[in-house]
């Protein structure tokens, strides 16, 4: 993630205080990553931060029919990816916000608006937002939600964010924070630790 540039993830489709969904063209799906920290504007000088926890590409009747053909022509594949309006939906879990220079891991005061641009955060911003670890509670609050794979999300996020912390101790601090937060939930703790081990 160190060489990441300011990247437009997509346009905001729908939102709530606790999360939002951005849409983008399917052909651009290689840019955003599961677990990445992204941000959407709220007011001038104010941003909402979140982690990408899901990506969906809906099918339709035409795609289902094409998929049953023996050989799908390259032109047809290219047409469906480039021309047909099948957006990649990127779901984001809100983990905090920023007002001017002050980073907060509290939920934002309002939800972002439709068609706001969602940006991927650059390494310095990731390092700044994740310096404190209070935002982990937003992820661990959702461990019972099958749509939000909390253990996998934490593992992917920690793996990416650790690369943006030059001191090299961040990953250890993050692991310790998770152990503290999940000390009464042994099953989830083991899931997260197992995922973290796989991600290292």
């Amino acid at each position: 993630m160190n060489d990441a540039q300011a990247y437009k993830v997509g346009y905001l489709l729908r939102s709530a205080i606790t999360g939002f969904v951005a849409g983008t063209r399917v052909s651009e799906q290689d840019a955003p990553q599961f677990g990445a920290l992204v941000k959407a504007p709220l007011n001038p000088g104010m941003w909402i931060y979140g982690l990408i926890y899901a990506m969906n590409i809906d099918d339709d009747g035409t795609v289902r029919q094409i998929a049953t053909s023996d050989n799908v022509d390259e032109v047809v594949v290219a047409d469906n990816r480039k021309n047909r309006t099948v957006p990649l939906e990127i779901s984001v879990l809100t983990v905090g916000h920023r007002r001017e220079e002050a980073v907060s891991h509290l939920l934002p005061p309002r939800a972002p608006l439709s068609l706001d641009i969602v940006w991927q955060c650059q390494p310095a911003e990731v390092a700044e937002f994740t310096e404190r670890l209070g935002y982990f509670r937003h992820i661990l609050r959702n461990t019972a939600n099958p749509e939000l794979p909390a253990a996998e999300l934490l593992a992917a996020h920690i793996h990416q964010a650790a690369a943006d912390h030059p001191d090299g101790t961040w990953r250890q601090r993050a692991s310790q924070e998770i152990i503290t937060l999940l000390r009464d939930d042994y099953e989830t703790l083991m899931q997260v630790m197992s995922a973290l081990a796989d991600a290292s």
Binding site: T62, D73, V75, D79
Partner: protein
């Protein structure tokens, strides 16, 4: 009041019983037609003469005319060209509504142009044409007139896109017959407006001819009986009059029904010309022709009628390219045997129902911005728009 399903059920039963009887009769007639087709398969010149004689008795006669291929011809699937340009266009419209505040219509054209044999995404095009009918020269438009605008627009669009096509051969497709319909339906006192549309339509066809493109109209699930009608003409006794010609001994048999067992998947029928009252408008290399194509699978035949102009009918290379590309296109959508590019053109052109209201509001806003107060919704429509009674639910 809801539909009276009790009555309907009885009626449906009675209709099903009638259908079973009628089907048996149609099968018998089909057997007669199939035998006649075999008997007269190579008797082409005599058939042409019989049709000409019959057309003399009744100029409104509409039937097939044999060309150079035997009636039972079944042309195998040719190899597809290594590279080609395929263009398809379709149209969609918002029809004028006399009860709406503004009498307007919209013709939305969609097209796709792909390079066959490559791997690049095709180009897609849309063209939206809005008419606020109160302020046009005619003062009003019927749904049939809008359909004419749409059909003409489709042909003009494919002709325009063919001009800049990169690869030869060029194949263009539209959904439905090649012939421009609507002269009678439009209900003009004179056919001046229709003639103007037709002139533009023929000019677009001529443009495609000049470009050397194979243009075609694709008719899915055809119910026509042009070939069967021709066989009826052959059954007429010597010296028959116009009244005898109007008898329909093979009524109910369609061409697709007749040819279903003759054509294997991928095969096309012979190419036929069309004897009709309107044929005079499409003369020379523009003369209307057609063939049937089995785009189905083994054991599940599905016949489409493909209408082509004379210059395509008389050019074996163009005909083969069209034949091969159509079969390939019909294999893309899985179990649905319909050309992929036509499906896509339809998708591109489609005006969704919810867009009707948005377009109307757009016009109203612009009219008001110009100081023009739009009309009012009719009282009848306003009453229809009242919310219906809803069931109370928790």
């Amino acid at each position: 009041m809801p539909i009276n399903y009790l009555d309907l059920r009885q009626q449906a039963k009675a209709e099903a019983l009638k259908a079973r009887t009628a089907l048996k009769q149609v099968e018998e007639r089909r057997a007669v037609a199939a035998a006649l087709l075999q008997q007269r398969a190579s008797d082409l010149e005599a058939i042409r003469q019989s049709v000409a004689d019959a057309a003399h008795l009744d100029p409104r006669l509409r039937c097939a005319l044999p060309s150079s291929e035997p009636l039972t011809h079944a042309g195998g699937l040719p190899a597809a060209p290594a590279a080609y340009t395929l263009i398809a266009a379709d149209g969609s419209q918002i029809n004028p509504n006399a009860h709406a505040p503004v009498h307007y219509f919209l013709v939305n054209l969609g097209a796709i142009r792909l390079q066959g044999g490559g791997d690049q995404a095709p180009d897609v095009f849309t063209h939206s044409d809005l008419h606020v009918a109160e302020y046009t020269r005619s003062g009003g438009y019927s749904e049939e007139m809008v359909s004419l605008e749409r059909d003409k627009g489709e042909r003009k669009l494919v002709a325009e896109l063919a001009e800049s096509a990169a690869q030869q051969p060029i194949i263009t497709l539209t959904d439905g017959p090649l012939e421009l319909w609507g002269e009678k339906a439009a209900g003009y006192g004179d056919d001046k407006a229709f003639s103007e549309h037709l002139s533009e339509y023929l000019a677009a066809l001529e443009q495609l001819h000049q470009r050397g493109a194979a243009t075609a109209g694709y008719v899915d699930k055809p119910r026509a009986d042009l070939l069967v009608r021709m066989l009826e003409v052959l059954q007429l006794p010597e010296g028959s009059d116009a009244q005898a010609l109007r008898a329909r001994p093979l009524r109910g048999v369609t061409d697709a029904h007749l040819l279903r067992d003759l054509l294997q998947p991928g095969e096309r029928s012979a190419v036929f010309g069309i004897q009709s009252q309107s044929a005079g408008r499409y003369f020379g290399h523009l003369a209307l022709h057609f063939f049937y194509l089995n785009v189905g699978k083994p054991g599940a035949p599905w016949l489409a009628r493909v209408e082509i102009p004379g210059w395509v009918a008389g050019n074996p290379a163009l005909l083969d390219a069209l034949h091969a590309v159509l079969v390939a296109q019909n294999n893309i959508l899985g179990s649905y045997t319909y050309p992929y590019v036509l499906h896509r053109a339809h998708e591109i052109a489609l005006v969704k129902y919810e867009e009707h209201e948005q377009v109307a509001q757009l016009i109203i806003n612009e009219l008001r911005a110009m100081g023009v107060e739009p009309g009012e919704l009719s009282q009848k429509q306003a009453a229809k728009n009242l919310p219906g009674r809803r069931r109370f639910t928790l």
